[in-house]
């Protein structure tokens, strides 16, 4: 019998990252009781745009920011609520993240943790959202240059799409779970532009093997693969803080070389399974069903998937 996620006789469930709300993720990720929220819901800093569209607002605009401790180390943290407007970036939502990153430049925490869960930019406030994406990317590079690692954690329903995918690519390190997805264009966008023959967005197995956590980890697009539990994400974040790469010319040139090499090596592949075969995976078809333990063993055997290229 394979692994059992629940043992009804003895213990309940480990808290699922995928299912947890943004607030529950923060609570489970940080040291107990250490989180201090900035601009909390009681301040009612809500979107000024959504009422124009007769859409409901959220007290925190779907972005929760603040400070806390991770295994005793001071960190700043931002979490997107993927169920509110698909976690999309609006004006307040984006500004809160930009503000947090700028504060980090002054506070110099041990790390900034970004808990992605986003479909991209909110259509109803697209200009503000797009601007925020650019400002966030700029702030992250400044922060990394100042020696503060920025760790992205991706395992929510909405994944990290659109501008969220771009921001993820600027982070020092990324943790992803099986359910997590990273990409710029979403499945529906690709299908709309290129047709269902090119990419059938309703074929969920195809979506996940193209954009999902296992594929991103196998090709080096993410640096750690975590079980879908809050505890596993916490452990992975802790591990990665100590392994953040320097943000210098050498790192960037190595990344560029890696990306060029990747294109040469896999550019003609029609499906992720072909890429995995070329990576040396013996049974590519079996990868989606692998348990975390078996997948970790596979990663260890391949040995080439840890580098700084996204």
């Amino acid at each position: 019998m394979s692994e059992r996620i629940i043992d009804p006789a003895t213990k309940g469930w480990a808290a699922s990252w995928y299912e947890a709300s943004a607030r529950a993720r923060i609570d489970g990720l940080l040291d107990t009781g250490s989180f201090r929220e900035v601009i909390g819901p009681e301040q009612r800093r809500m979107s000024p745009h959504l009422p124009l569209f007769d859409l409901p607002r959220a007290f925190d605009d779907g972005m929760i920011v603040g400070s806390g401790r991770l295994d005793g180390q001071p960190v700043l943290v931002a979490a997107q609520e993927g169920r509110f407007m698909g976690g999309a970036f609006g004006e307040v939502h984006g500004a809160k993240l930009v503000g947090l990153l700028r504060a980090a430049l002054a506070l110099k925490p041990a790390a900034v943790l970004i808990l992605f869960d986003t479909g991209g930019v909110r259509l109803q406030e697209a200009n503000a959202g797009e601007t925020a994406i650019a400002e966030v990317m700029r702030a992250i590079t400044q922060l990394r240059a100042a020696g503060v690692p920025v760790i992205g954690l991706i395992g929510g329903r909405a994944g990290a799409y659109g501008g969220g995918g771009l921001i993820a690519a600027t982070c020092s390190r990324l943790v992803v779970s099986e359910g997590g997805r990273i990409s710029v264009s979403g499945p529906e966008v690709i299908e709309t532009n290129k047709g269902a023959e090119e990419f059938d967005s309703r074929d969920r197995a195809l979506v996940w093997r193209t954009m999902g956590g296992k594929h991103r980890r196998l090709t080096g697009g993410a640096d750690a693969y975590a079980d879908d539990t809050v505890a596993a994400f916490r452990q992975a974040a802790l591990d990665l803080i100590g392994r953040a790469p320097a943000f210098d010319l050498a790192t960037l040139e190595a990344e560029q070389a890696r990306l060029e090499q990747r294109l040469t090596r896999f550019g003609d592949c029609r499906d992720a399974t072909e890429i995995w075969a070329r990576l040396g995976v013996n049974d590519p078809e079996a990868v989606p069903a692998l348990t975390t333990a078996d997948f970790d063993a596979l990663l260890a055997r391949l040995g080439e998937t840890t580098h700084d290229a996204r």
Partner: protein
């Protein structure tokens, strides 16, 4: 020609005409239209196998391409109206009259065509009822069926989705009808013989495998706290109370939640082995954790479910399987089992009125009944006792000689007070009555009649209708669990409180259930992936249910 063998002679002539397009019994997919035009005659009664799950889709496409000048005015007698072609043939004039049971995906279109008079409707049946009529007054002249494989003699392997096939073939082949089977492949030797070759006249090698819809897969990820609360109440307030071992579940999320709470919540209540041991049920993926935890002794199936084949093969102690190892389902037998050998049916519905009548028919959808009215009715022909059945009988009995008391089947409706889009589940008057008037149906399409319903479970509580002694009590018991719907807000609060004292209305707190404990952490599986893990990797969910 003998005056007593005219049907047989006509059948032989049809087969003779069909042979021109066949090599022996085997017909190429490209010749389907020619074959059908040769064997069909205007006005024929035809069963175009459209089951709850499996579809004879290659033959359906063929029939819809026939020339309406040659093939017309057919009388379709089939349980499922599922594919577009099933209705296209009415628009084309190929078919004229319809008797059926279930039309889930085509529910809206069939309603429009009924309003428009494009279909001459016989009746909307239950499965068992339509099957019965195959042997009395709706015997098919031609049956167009589907299987996984056949040999050249016509010996047919239906695969795990046997479903309606044996019943349809029995009625057709033994009453001078012609049987055409589409198969995914023609083989030297079939894995097992589900239908002997002498009942199959033609075998069509289909251009692609027959279509099967995964109808019974409920993703645990979509299960809500409200559904979990209702499931907790059903387990504690009904399953435990009546000691229900033999049962059938509907396909809603409420009943799927019950399945997922057996190894967790029900286990904590010490109910293992006491409840939910013997089932008439399709192989629901959400039952896997209960099976793996040793709750389930036996399951007989109407049909199969996409992705469950390997799991079933490896669990033959639980399921009915053939010598080849694969599932043998049979809708007619399983419906009979659900009717006579189960002590409880629990299912959902779209509308319940103040008396307890319920229907899934709304003004613009005629979904049909399928098996629910069979499962959800008290069989007056039952003659074997069980503790559950007798207890329910005692609760219902008010007058007469106790020595002549008979039991009652428990028929439970489990509904959330508001459905999709804040549509109330409780109404003054069923839409089904309006629809019947509009299209001139003699019999309103009621799914479960009030006198069959014994309990209604909502997130607000359980109403035990067996214990109601007057129509007024019954109405207030229903209003008493109807939540914030207009029906619920219209309750007589004092009377509902009195019904509560008598245990006719029971709230979560009356059952010792704290609504805030209704949490997703109680589910034995919270995702399809968890179900795969529980199955030891044997359950292979279809792509639309995966996120890996």
């Amino acid at each position: 020609m003998s005056g007593w063998r005219r049907e047989r002679a006509a059948r032989d002539a049809r087969i003779e005409a069909g042979r021109a397009h066949a090599a022996g019994k085997v017909v190429a997919a490209a010749n389907v239209v020619d074959l059908l035009e040769a064997i069909l005659q205007p006005g024929d009664r035809v069963c175009l196998e459209g089951d709850n799950q499996k579809q004879a889709d290659c033959l359906a496409r063929g029939l819809s391409q026939c020339d309406p000048a040659r093939v017309h005015d057919l009388h379709m007698v089939q349980s499922g109206i599922v594919l577009p072609e099933h209705l296209d043939i009415f628009e084309q004039g190929i078919a004229k009259r319809l008797d059926y049971s279930y039309s889930g995906p085509q529910g809206s279109r069939i309603a429009r065509m009924l309003y428009g008079g494009q279909i001459e409707l016989g009746a909307v049946h239950t499965y068992l009822e339509l099957f019965a009529r195959y042997f009395v007054d709706l015997t098919p002249n031609v049956a167009l069926i589907a299987g996984v494989s056949a040999d050249r003699d016509g010996n047919l392997y239906t695969g795990p989705n046997t479903e309606d096939t044996p019943t349809v073939v029995e009625a057709t082949a033994f009453k001078n009808g012609v049987v055409v089977a589409q198969v995914n492949e023609i083989v030297e030797r079939v894995p097992r013989v589900d239908i002997p070759g002498d009942r199959i006249d033609f075998v069509v090698e289909a251009d692609r495998p027959f279509y099967v819809e995964p109808l019974f897969t409920r993703d645990p990820a979509a299960m809500t706290e409200t559904q979990i609360l209702m499931a907790m109440m059903a387990i504690k307030g009904i399953y435990a109370e009546y000691g229900i071992r033999r049962l059938n579940h509907g396909i809603g999320f409420g009943t799927a939640a019950i399945e997922l709470l057996l190894p967790t919540y029900a286990d904590r209540l010490g109910l293992k082995g006491q409840i939910a041991t013997h089932w008439a049920l399709n192989p629901h993926p959400t039952l896997i954790p209960a099976i793996e935890s040793g709750w389930v002794k036996q399951v007989h199936c109407f049909g199969s479910e996409v992705g469950m084949d390997r799991y079933i093969r490896e669990r033959s102690d639980i399921f009915f399987t053939g010598a080849d190892g694969s599932l043998r389902s049979n809708r007619a037998f399983c419906q009979t089992a659900g009717l006579y050998a189960c002590d409880l049916f629990i299912g959902s519905t779209l509308q319940i009125d103040l008396a307890g009548h319920s229907s899934t028919v709304t003004q613009n959808r005629v979904a049909g009944f399928g098996g629910a009215p069979n499962m959800g009715s008290d069989p007056h022909g039952r003659r074997h006792p069980s503790d559950t059945w007798m207890k329910a009988g005692r609760e219902a009995q008010v007058t007469g000689d106790p020595a002549l008391m008979r039991g009652r089947k428990l028929v439970v409706q489990i509904v959330e007070t508001f459905g999709e889009g804040l549509v109330p589940a409780f109404v003054e008057r069923l839409d089904a009555l309006e629809l019947a008037k509009k299209i001139g149906l003699e019999l309103a399409p009621v799914m479960v009649y009030a006198d069959d319903v014994t309990h209604i479970v909502t997130e607000e509580g359980i109403a035990n209708l067996l214990l109601c002694r007057t129509a007024d009590e019954r109405e207030q018991a229903i209003r008493g669990v109807a939540g914030y719907t207009e029906i619920g807000r219209g309750r007589d609060r004092a009377m509902v409180e009195r019904l509560r004292q008598r245990g006719i209305v029971r709230r979560p707190e009356d059952l010792g259930i704290e609504p805030l404990d209704a949490d997703r952490s109680l589910l034995a599986a919270r995702s399809i992936k968890d179900l795969v893990h529980w199955s030891g990797g044997l359950y292979e969910p279809p792509a639309k249910f995966r996120n890996w």
